[in-house]
């Protein structure tokens, strides 16, 4: 599958995403934020970084970017849209996903490997995994504390739209394993149509053995519509 990786001024995981997708045998191209068109049938990645410097609020300016209407249209058409880290923040700001990402509870930026529990295989992004499976995926953010109204959290839970939760190495969802204080230990969610994924951890950082792990492969291959290999 082909992916458009959107490049905002201040994006810094854009090349990493292209590289990881290529390693997985997918096509990827960089699309500058001032462009206004995306091809149909093309997946969209909003990569990590500090779009526009993120001086106001993470993702707050990027939502007004010229490419965003095309991203929204793609999401509505049912194309795959993945927001990673800053991309997740942008998707929330743009209203493609509910809730918001706020300052980490511990106030520090944290870069480390987090354990994620897969909550449901019922999405293309998690189709390679089993419920309760533990993945290890790097995080690197200062504002990854997921917050939403109680009704929204309830809706996300009821519709099984929480795809990943922070857990410990044994797969237990416990407060000590939550790196940023996110409500319901949320690490990643999808939209009602299950074609838009937002996650704080970086699957593109764990697609090669040399990088210390390969648990990101299933997520990105799933996004590409490549089904689970038995």
């Amino acid at each position: 599958m082909r992916f458009a990786v959107i490049q905002f001024p201040g994006s810094n995981c854009d090349r990493d995403c292209v590289h990881a997708l290529q390693v997985l045998g997918q096509e990827a191209r960089l699309v500058w934020h001032q462009e206004t068109r995306l091809d149909s049938g093309e997946g969209v990645i909003l990569p990590g970084g500090f779009s526009y410097g993120d001086y106001l609020r993470c993702g707050a300016i990027a939502r007004f970017s010229p490419i965003l209407p095309a991203v929204k249209a793609a999401a509505e058409r049912g194309e795959v849209v993945v927001g990673i880290c800053n991309g997740f923040q942008i998707l929330c700001e743009a209203g493609l996903l509910p809730g918001a990402l706020t300052r980490n509870e511990g106030l520090h930026f944290r870069c480390e490997t987090a354990y994620l529990r897969v909550e449901t295989p019922a999405s293309r992004f998690t189709s390679h995994f089993a419920t309760g499976q533990t993945l290890s995926v790097p995080i690197a953010h200062g504002e990854g504390c997921y917050r939403a109204d109680p009704e929204i959290l309830q809706e996300l839970e009821a519709e099984q739209r929480v795809l990943f939760r922070y857990c410990n190495a044994e797969g237990q969802v416990v407060p000590e394993a939550n790196p940023n204080g996110s409500s319901h230990h949320i690490a990643g969610i999808c939209n009602a149509g299950r074609n838009v994924l937002g996650m704080m951890p970086h699957p593109e950082r764990c697609c090669e053995v040399e990088m210390g792990g390969t648990d990101g492969r299933g997520i990105l291959l799933g996004a590409a519509g490549i089904g689970r290999k038995i």
Binding site: G53, C111, E112
Partner: protein, 748 residues
Amino acid sequence: MKAKEFALKLGLTEQEYGTIEKGLGREPNENELGMFSVMWSEHCSYKNTRRELRKFPTTGPAVLVKAGEENAGVVDAGDGLALAYKIESHNHPSAVEPFQGAATGVGGILRDIFTMGARPVAFMDSLRFGRPQAKGEAGKRTRALIHGVVSGISHYGNCVGVPTVGGELVFDPAYEGNPLVNVFCLGILRHDQIRRGAAKGVGNPVFYVGAKTGRDGLAGAAFASRDLTEESKADRPAVQVGDPFVGKLLFEACLELYARPDLVVGVQDMGAAGLTCSTCETASRGGSGIEIELDRVPQRETGMTPYEILLSESQERMLIIVHKGREKELKEIFAKWGLDAAEIGYVTETGKVVVKAAGRVVADVPARLLADDAPVYEREAKVPAQLAEKQKLDLKKILPTQPKVKEDLLKLAASPAMGSRRWVWNQYDHMVGLRTLGKPGSDAAVLRIEKPGGGWVHVAMTLDGNGRWCAQDPREGSRALVAEACRNLACAGAVPLGLTDNLNYGNPHDPEIFWQLREGVEGMAEACRCFDLPVTGGNVSLYNQSPAGPIHPTPVVGVVGKVEEGVRLVPGVFGKGGGAILLLGTQESGGLGASIYLQEIHGVLAGKLGKVDLAAERKLHGLMRSVLKLAGVRSAHDVGEGGILWALAEMTFGEGSAGAEVTLPCGQGERPEEVLFGEGAGRILVEVEEETVGMVEPLAKELGVGCTRIGKTGGADFEVTCGSVKERWGVQELRKLFDEALPNALEG
């Protein structure tokens, strides 16, 4: 005010004023004097150290850009790939404004690297503070400095998307009044992408690109060339303010610009001394002149005087000279990235930097006079009166009759000085770019670098300094730290290619301080020659002293190397057990002189480090690289600060690492503490599978390097036997102290 009076007020000497007047053939005006005061400051001219720096070996087959030629050195990494790297200090700014001081230090070194045409791919930081656990105001201030500096580095580095992959963090009372913040950056490029900072081609346009000029950082280079005093806080306006977002856009825009064939003539960043430095240096290198018009300089404040515009050190600005007729292409690229690009002047054949404002000439100075003809001083050097006394060490008066090895080790692990640095590097994005192999905290950081034609080259790098060693014996300490840096690379299977140095010392007008500097340079130079290691540039930071006194003499070296073909990288921590532990190199501990053990456990800084056998060290590194090509090697770690017992303890701190049983011989008349905590050079620990022992031993014999089996890994406990000492502890117990030491001191 008379010109001469003004010159003295700016810190120029009477003699220097005379040279300027003679060079110009007339009385200089205030703008010109401002320009000379920064360009002839120690920071820009190395006037006090140039004679010493000439002692460094600077050439070698791998050197592509030599020390002093450009903003950073460049070495060949093979396959058409080159590495640009440099270290730079931001000590004074960080002392008065830790967050911005550190952030702009990162921004500054970043510009030095992409100015060379390289894509920046990694940072490392060497940080030194007082003790965070100190009582009262001093401790409070130190903790605030640490938080400020770490978040400043994290803010800038993370935002520009360049990983911070390693470094060092040292706490010592010697840095309480004057912290050290040294920042290193590595960039990658092809040989044909190297950029020069020379203004050539009469009539070619000179562009100013990047952020607008403001009143921040006025004469910061001059500020950095004075002692820190109680009044230094008043110099806060001399500290620049960084904007990493603009820094990121600027380097992406520049890299896009460089990729256009035959567009750029020369490029120079505006760091210290801003517009003044960039114009006179590019003109001087090009053997040309430059004329600029200040009214065209993008400004973010109104009413700035020519003096302020010329001396501003506002961040994220570059000077770029392009071929005439290609202006539009440059403007388009910078417009795409949303940055200012103003044509402020052109290249001339006059050899002069001519500055105009409102149609009037406000400065007219020969470029060479400003950039290259700063006076060079021979400073007086004197052996410190107290040195012999300091170097005496009477262990009988210090150590208890009965060794308390376990208690001492637990104390070390729980001390902020030795505790895990995870609290720091967790705040740095060390993975972005997908090049970092392993985590920070290893002997050396290793990156994979894409080869121009596909595939990877593995590059290793390390930052090392040791003020304690150098305080007790600056020459030996400096030899030892170069040896240690190369040993760290050897643990990653890498051959060192080049070295960048940051010489942090006190006031050079004090003959005892200058002696430390000279000894340090000579010691480093000797070690570099032994390792065939060229010095490709760096930074000198003097005047590091506060009313409490000077800092320890603290040269810091950054060494980059290439991992040899066939090397299999191994972690610095034990595997799950069942391996043999071998000590490669000497069995001599080097004694407890200048050790962290004496300082942290017994509160004594005394004695000196044993002499480093550089030839033996070199053989050891060769052996280590060969061992890493064998099958069955599980882990490797060098012995450094804290001695062999500390190195072994660190090897048990991995996720799921086993414990070990180790026996170390204790000689006649030797104290077990010396054997266990002595910091002598020339030793590496490796853990190998049983079958591999038989392969390592003959290899070591052939190369003439010691190889001693000292124990085996396994279990959840660590047991050490040394002379009369036999102690045992749980690996988890020790690791918990190690993990919590720093968070407890900084957040408790």
